[in-house]
Symmetry: C2
Subunit: 155 residues, 2 copies
Amino acid sequence: MKLSNAVPLYLEDFHIGDYFETASVVMTKEDIISFATHFDPQHFHLDQETAKDSLFNGLAASGWHTNGVSMRLIVQSGLNIINGVVGLGVDEVRWPKPVRPDDSIYVRGEILDVIPSNSKPQWGVVKIRWQTFNQNHEVVASMLPSLWVKRRDVV
Amino acid sequence: MKLSNAVPLYLEDFHIGDYFETASVVMTKEDIISFATHFDPQHFHLDQETAKDSLFNGLAASGWHTNGVSMRLIVQSGLNIINGVVGLGVDEVRWPKPVRPDDSIYVRGEILDVIPSNSKPQWGVVKIRWQTFNQNHEVVASMLPSLWVKRRDVV
């Protein structure tokens, strides 16, 4: 079932197989260079000319940039969780294809597991497969986050 | 052995147990809020007052911000690799403690494995344990990246 973004979700609202999809956003050349300047200053993320001779065969967004923009998309148009989108950790981060200037990206997430906490009965963990796609619906980033999610008050 | 940052490294220069350590940098409140505004707009990363009532009990940097700053530190003062610092993927990303305004962070990396590629003989994979510490030498982020590293030309 598609998860609603209209009301804040609690642990009980998540079920295996549920999914969400975010809006999309264009990664401009200026955005790519600006992020790289601050957080990943390597020539294949900074300079269109010298990037041609790199492993990436042209300017490519830092993978951390793709992840950051994906996070913003999830927060703004993907997951509405009562206590916010809080990751305990993330496994298997991969960047199978580079993100190029003017690529438009969006995130699709699928619920893999819902695990009530034994030690903290008001909380639980939601495991997600998060995939970021480009405009050709090719995966440009994927990861398996574990989110910390509040349960409804038990009466 | 401590890895030199003076000359670019090839796959053959890495050995299990080698390590590197970066310079440190202060995470200001302004930096934390600016990153969150662009990439993780949630109140516990944006607003000192309302963050007090959140899971974080006060303003905390986005985990993606800590990762991004750590990446910059590694690129600028940690690892000098001939083809750049290029991750094939990252496993087991964890954020065991929040990063607070004015925390000073640095990264220490340890080489866990060095694996020549079978399919691409000019390349190989270096597996690293990357840990980001605060000024009290507490781990605030950790992960296991796999880097793609060029071999020396075999003659």
